[in-house]
């Protein structure tokens, strides 16, 4: 399991990193935690001549919370997300999701930026970021631009990020809503058979806000707008939850694979979403 040969670069700044990527074009890839990229390189399914390691770029690290505004550097690891008390205070859904990713060793290395930028439909953070309505900042040779997580994913491994751009940070407004990240997986370390991120807020007994996203149930994460709409304005009664689950199942498009046939995945998606909605309501 030895990857093909490449040259290794370890830039100290985003400008230096984007410069390297611009110079070497599609023969270069950036590496964050490497726990998606290195296995692909070992299988020789990814071939590159230049590996640009982002580990020394301090400006890509760290979590900053200002009131309800949250900004997370792309190189922040899952372990750091889990360990951050200030993040858990304002956006506990991130902690809940990060704890369900892979295993401890992988969480020490795996980063939020790599998780959202890779475009792997199995990754948990993209759906969660759509649920939170997060924005990604991309840095390239012509400067920076922002893209909404809900507009970022085009197909499996295809995103709005241009080849010469690096995803540098993620930001969103937390809103204190009830939350749940629910994930069904075959074993520790596996990707989801189905997972769901849910935020729900109430005013009195009426749902005033809902946001639902589904993971690994299509070739991109699915922001289930119609499902959220079924809940908003309802009393979060059984009929409203049934309607939301039906709308979400309508929005997904799972493929048959070693995690099961399509009908099974739709069934699991419904079970998982229902659990997530109920837990989010209990915390709203």
């Amino acid at each position: 399991m030895i990857p093909g040969s490449f040259d290794y670069h370890r830039p100290k700044s985003v400008a230096e990193a984007t410069g390297l990527v611009a110079r070497y074009g599609d023969t270069a890839r950036v590496i964050a935690g490497g726990h998606s990229l290195i296995p692909m390189m070992k299988l020789r399914m990814t071939d590159l001549d230049h590996l640009v390691d982002l580990q020394d770029i301090g400006e890509l690290r760290g979590i900053s919370v200002n009131g309800q505004s949250v900004e997370i550097g792309a190189m922040t690891t899952q372990h750091e997300l889990i360990a951050s008390e200030v993040l858990t205070e304002v956006a506990p859904i991130i902690t809940e999701a990060a704890l369900q990713i892979a295993d401890p060793q992988v969480r020490y290395m795996g980063t939020i930026g790599g998780n959202v930028a890779n475009g792997d439909p199995g990754n948990d953070m993209p759906g969660l970021m759509q649920c939170l309505d997060a924005t990604y900042t991309l840095s390239g040779p012509d400067g920076t631009r922002d893209v909404k997580a809900r507009d970022f994913y085009e197909a499996a491994y295809f995103t709005a990020r241009e080849e010469e751009e690096i995803l540098t940070k993620i930001y969103f407004q937390a809103n204190g809503a009830g939350y749940a990240y629910e994930k069904q997986k075959r074993k520790i370390g596996d990707y989801a058979t189905a997972a769901s991120a849910v935020l729900i807020a109430k005013e009195g007994d009426v749902c005033s806000f809902a946001s639902i996203a589904m993971t690994n149930l299509a070739d991109t994460p699915i922001y289930a707008d119609a499902a959220s709409s079924e809940l908003v304005g309802s009393g979060l009664d059984q009929a409203a939850i049934d309607a939301a689950v039906a709308a979400a199942i309508d929005a997904i498009d799972p493929a048959e694979d070693n995690r099961g046939p399509i009908e099974f995945k739709k069934h699991v998606a419904g079970v998982i979403l229902r659990r997530a909605i109920e837990r989010a309501i209990s915390r709203a």
Partner: protein
């Protein structure tokens, strides 16, 4: 073939240097270039955890890290925790509580458990099982591994209290 890099890192408290290609994995450099054969290669696909080492204070699977990424890093392997005349409390506990059978996973188990106890010196059984989820054992059924880690934690906490 790309050019070899001059790598420097601290392994088990000793400064080491070696030449290696950028594509060489940390586990291969440790075992084949530095002769540190404590960490094992199990699956080589970052699932089993037999190659776990401590890397700048984090438990990592060294089959999924390039040695180049460890340039300048502090690495600790099972060899750095104890030796036959002076076993680490985790090593003693694994021996006394039958925390191993074939022993293949044990260096990774102990190296991971070491970091777990640094972060949480008094873990519950559930926290141990969750914290050890990246290490597979095909012999023990895990029960005695959990017991060993609990025993080592008590031992280490008692020693710490006695020292204070």
């Amino acid at each position: 073939m790309s050019k070899k890099m001059h790598l420097e890192m601290t392994v088990n408290g000793q400064k080491v240097e070696t030449l290696a290609e950028p594509r060489e994995l940390l586990i291969h450099v440790l075992r084949e270039r530095l002769g540190i054969t404590g960490p094992h290669i199990g699956c080589e696909t970052s699932h089993c955890g037999a190659c776990t080492v401590d890397f700048n204070g984090k438990s990592v699977k060294s089959c999924n890290v390039f040695a180049a990424q460890a340039q300048g890093a502090e690495v600790t392997t099972i060899e750095g925790l104890g030796d036959p005349d002076n076993l680490h409390p985790l090593q003693t506990a694994f021996k006394e509580h039958h925390g191993l059978q074939c022993g293949y996973c044990t260096p990774g188990m102990i190296t991971r458990a070491h970091r777990l106890l640094q972060e949480n010196p008094t873990p519950t059984e559930e926290e141990i099982r969750f914290g050890m989820a990246g290490n597979l054992c095909r012999c023990t059924g895990y029960q005695n591994i959990v017991k060993s880690i609990q025993a080592a934690a008590s031992e280490m906490n008692a020693a710490k209290e006695a020292a204070e």
